[in-house]
Every structure is written in C-alpha cells, then in structure tokens.
Amino acid sequence: MKRLALAAAALALAGQAAEAKTLKVSPGDDAQEQLQTALLDAKPGDVVRLAPGRYVLVDGLSLDVDDVTVRGAGPDKTVLSFAGQKGAGEGLLITSDRVTVRDLAVEDTRGDGIKAKGSDQISFLNLRVEWTGGPNEKNGAYGVYPVSSTNVLIDKVTVRGASDAGIYVGQSRNIVLKNSTAEFNVAGIEIENSMNADVFDNLATRNAGGILIFDLPGLPQMGGHSTRVFRNKVVQNDTPNFAPKGNIVAGVPTGTGVMVMANRDVHVFENEIAENQSAAIMLVAYTQAFDDANYNPLPREIVVRDNVIGRNGWAPQFPGGAELAQMTGGVLPPVMWDGVTVDPRSGETPAGAGKVMLSNGPVLNLNLPAAGAMDRARPSVTPTLGAETLPEPAAVVLPPAQAALGS
C-alpha cells in the first residue's frame, strides 16, 4: 500500500514536470502586452523565456505566480528598457514565491529596477540593472530590491547608477549575495533591517559608499543581525554622493568602504578595502531622532579582522573629518568607531553596547558622548580595540533547490 502511494506520488511529480512549459516572448511593438500576458499566464513550473533583443516597455511589469523562472539570453542580449515608462514604482515587481529572474538586463526604470516583496526563495541571477545616463539623483532608488522576503539569492548581478543602493536587501531573512558588482551607485550594496546575510566575493567600486549594513527605526522588521561581509573587493568608491536629501544614504560620506550602523553581530573579514577617501570601515550609531521603543540605535557585537587594507581615509568627507585626519597624521586609521555606547532615550548603556572586536586596526575611537556629536569627540587611537570573543554567525544555508541555482 505504502509502495503504491509512493508510486502515485512519483507519477504525480512526473506529471507536474511534464506539464511545465516554456512561454516564449520576443521583442516587438507589442512587447509590453506580450510579456505581461506571459507573466500572467505562467503556471507553477513554467519558464518565461525572453528572446534576445531590446524590449521597449511603457509600464511596470509584474509577476504573482509561484515557481516561475523569467529567463533572458544574457544581460547584454535581452534588454528591458523602461526609458519611456509612464507608471508603476519599479520595472518588474515580484510578489510570489520560488521565483528566479536570470540572464537579462533592466535599464532606466523611473523608480526601482526589480523589486520582490514578501517573496520566499527569490533568486536574482546573472542580471544587469543600469541607469544608462550614469549617476544622477533622478535615477531610481534601488537596482535589485528584495524586501520583506526570506531566502534571497543574488548571484552575478551588476547594478550601475542607483540613486540609493545598487543592490538593496531590506527587512528580509536568510540572504546570500555573491559574485556581484555594484558601481556608480550612491551605496553599492546595502543590507538593512535584515537577519542572517552572507555578502561575499562581490566588487563594490566607484560608488559613494561600498557596502552598508544598517538598521533603521520605525519599520515592521527591526533588529538586524548576523551578517558576514567577507572576501569582497571594496575599492575606489569615489563617486560624489548624489542621493536626494532625506534618504538615509544621503548621509554616507563619499569615499566610504564599509559602514555598519545600528546593527548587531556583523563580521567584516578578509575583504580588500582600498582607495576610499573617507574611511575604510566605519561603525556608527543612528544619528537621527526616533520614536520607537523597540529600536536599538547602536552598533554592537561587531568584528573586524583580517582585511587587506590599502590607502583609505586621506580626505574624509564628513563634518570634522579633516580635523580628525590632521590629528592622526593626515590619514584616518582604517577602522573608525564613533564610540557611542549610550542609548539616547534612557541615557544608559544597554547590555552589549560597546562590545566589539576590532583587531584589524589601528582603530580610531571617537568616544562620542552621543550619536553625531562630533564637536565633543575625544578621539583615541589604539592598535586594536576590544578583546571580546565574538563567535562568527553560522554560514547562511538556502534551501537546496535554490542553493543549486547559484554558482
């Protein structure tokens, strides 16, 4: 009986696989309707296959079917151009589970490039998202933008020109971001209000800031933690910050390598960090006023070790930076911590505050009495800082079928 049931299950599975089909789409005058219709008609297991060519689109596209792959012929062959976009907040919106978008390019969206909201097992593979006019504050905010999602895989993705973060993962869990390139964005890569992220083997260059690990107040998911940033190349982030004011990244100094703000359990190791004029690595508290009892504004349990650090911090682009550099021999030390350990609401030092292990110094501790109080800095430089043993977060493990998609 049991064997029979198993056989039936196998048959059912085989049947399902046999039914999976490929919906082919090609460029042309009706590209918008053809492509959107395919995204609506797709059934779980199907592949929407985009032939090579340039697709001229006037509206946002969206996918809300589980288990679908949207596949082009390569990021330089299948190009979705949104230069004439008339509506929607992004080029492609995905709101379903187990979706893979791969081998195509998205250009010149009016808002974000590709967004996934509330998706489980969302994979972005071998993509290019670009604003072709170069850095401009009128460009969209995010290139690749999974939010409120779980099991996020980003592999071999290139983003250029985003007016916020090129690759942005927000309010998500279980994230693997690798082999990708972010250049000419305000922030190259940003992990925000997220748990369990591995960010490795990426290149962040020519942005204002390379890699940001942030946590912000007032959001449904807060308390970001457990991120490993390793083996990345974070070099020559020298594009002047072009973010529209009001956005948190507008406060990232031009020429920042790695910045950790208000996040917990972040390990930064074995990266190559060089030619960033403000600082190689910065650890800071959230500086704005906030009204949220559940928010912790301090970076804590941060480890910085074994990075290869070249020339950085020779012309810091933040208030008081030039004076600081002067005090430290013309160049800032590779690791800078604002040293804030006091919660602005209680005036007390919460448990875990100040817990750091910064062995990759010298380390500049500004010893600020409060976030952003640069005028009251009491800078001190030590070869290393903190002797805590802080265990590294476990490697992020994606579901096997998804992990197998990556390289």
Binding site: Q32, E33, Q36, T37, L39, L40, V58, D59, G60, S62, L63, D64, Q85, K86, G87, A88, G89, L93, T95, T109, R110, G111, D112, K117, G118, E137, K138, N139, G140, A141, Y142, Y145, V147, S148, S163, D164, Y168, G170, Q171, L216, G218, L219, P220, Q221, P244, K245, G246, N247, I248, Q288, A289, D291, D292
Partner: protein, 354 residues
Amino acid sequence: MRRARGLLAALAAAWLLGAAPAPVALDALLSEAPAASLDAYRLFRDAGGLEPNAGVTPYALNTPLFSDYAEKRRFVFVPPGARVGYRQSGAFDFPVGSVLVKTFAYPADLRRPAEKIRLVETRLLIRKREGWTALAYVWNAEQNRAVLKRAGARLSIEATDRHGAPLTIDYAVPNANQCKECHSLDGELSPIGPKARNLNGDFAYPEGAENQLAHWRRIGLLEGAPDASSAPRTARWDDETEPLAARARAYLDANCGHCHNPAGIAGNSGLFLNLEEDRPSALGFGKRPVAAGRGSGGLEVSIAPGLPDQSILVHRMASNEPGVMMPELGRSLVDEDGLALIRAYVSSLPRADR
C-alpha cells in the same frame, strides 16, 4: 395552425424576455476562465452597460479613490438568496458568487459630468470559492461591447478639463497583478471600498434617497448590520461642513491606505495611512523616508506638521512623474482638490518647533 401557434409562443417568449431579461449569469461569474466580453455575465440589461440587471444594486462611497477625474459607477450583485455579512471594520463578508462592478467613464467636458459620457472600462471583483478575482473589460468606440484586457492597456482620453482647456489623459487600465497590488491584504486579493464606514451615507436610488446600509438591509442584501447611526462612518472628503482633519484622514485612507497599511503592499514602508492608524510616527509625522529614493524630493519627513512644503507626502501627491508620484498606480494627473485638502490639513497641524 400549428405553425401559427409556434410563432405565437416565440412572440410570447420574446415579450417575456423583454419584460424580464435573463438573470445575471452566475455560472459565467463562477467559471474558471473569465468571459471574453462583459455581456456574458448579463450584469446589465443593455449592451451599453448602463442599466443594471435585476439584483444588481448601485452604490457609492463617502470618500473614493481619485482616478484621473474619471466618473465611477459602482454596483454590487449577490446570488439570489445569499447575503452579505456585515463587519464593523474592514470590507464586508461577501458570499461566493458576489461581484463588485465598477465602470470608469469620462464626460466630454469635466465641468459637465453628466453629459456626453464615454465608458472606458468596467472592472469586476468576483468572489469565487477560492477567493477574489479581478478583471478589467475595456469598452469599444461604439460603446456596445467591452472586452477582457488581462495585461493592461494605455488609452488616450480626450476631454475638456475643469478650467475649459483641452486635456489628454494617458489612462491606464491595470493588469491583473496591478489590481492585486492595491487590493491586497496579506497577499490575498480583497475588496477595498465596501466597508461599513465608507458605505454609511445616502444614495439617490430611483425611488428616493436612502442610507445605503439601511437600504442594503431592507432589500435583503446585508445581514447582521446595526442601525446606520451606530455603524462607523468615513467622512466625505469633499464636504466642507465636516471637520478638516476627518476629511483629510478620509482622503488619505481612500487614496493611500489600501497599500499603506500594515497588511498592504507598502507595509514595509512603516507609513500607515489607513483610518485605523493612530500612532503619529506611523502616520508620517516627523517620519523619515526608507525607500523613497528620489521620491523624497530632497525633503526629510513624510509630514512636517504645519509645513506642507516640507512634507514628502504633499510633494509626492503634487507630482505626476513615475517614480515620484503617489499613488504609484491609478492616476497620471494630480488631484488638485485632494492636494489642496491635504495641504490645508498639514498647514493646520501645530508645528513641532513651536
């Protein structure tokens, strides 16, 4: 003789049909595949979609969504014998086979909304066994047939604007996913308008004006409803006799709150503009943007009390540029009256620094 009798029978049948047209096609509504054209559902007696069939009840909302100045005609149908379950908050509980019908139409001159009207599209929200389905049917130039458009469309609408100038509206028919973007609660398609509070007002029925909740109850459409006087009520955004804050909150609820609520597609923003929200920071007071990008317009907070020109929310309402404008879907023009209302509301709020 026999032939004559057949003819008579046919005539009688035709006469009967004229008197009582075939009822709404419940089987078409519940069919898995949507009908290719709107007439298949027999929601209207006429091919032009103007006269509702038996059991199809017109309704209106106290405060509706702005849709590029389109006139909207709403109808509800519930299968014979079934009833809508009253809920104090949220959309009513509609039985399987229900359909919410909304026809978008433009007068030739926006200053004369009742004259020379052209129907553009009719949207249906059908309650099936497995949940709600959204469909859009676009009317032809002859105005005698509306056909299904699943992938959305852009239509150019010519009209005279409210100042007497020629106006071209780049009207967007939503695709099926876009319907869901707004009509989504925790990822499930859901009606927005027919809530007790937004229906709690008078409607001019052919037989006279009557409160809609009372009418629905009286004709057996709605069960479990209290007297209209003890049901909640959304203010009318355009009724200047109502308090400014109530009008503004009603407007924000109808125009923003369907996405900007904790279970909506903009839930990740932390900006919640539904009427049930009461935390000042969640309502945008002094709230910094998260993923607004260039939508911030260089401003620092969603609502700066007392300072509309410093408020991102006002900035995004005043824009018609994709990537900046809010709502993201459903409009290409600025709602001048709505913008004026929200500006007045923000101006009326006490400044934080005083």
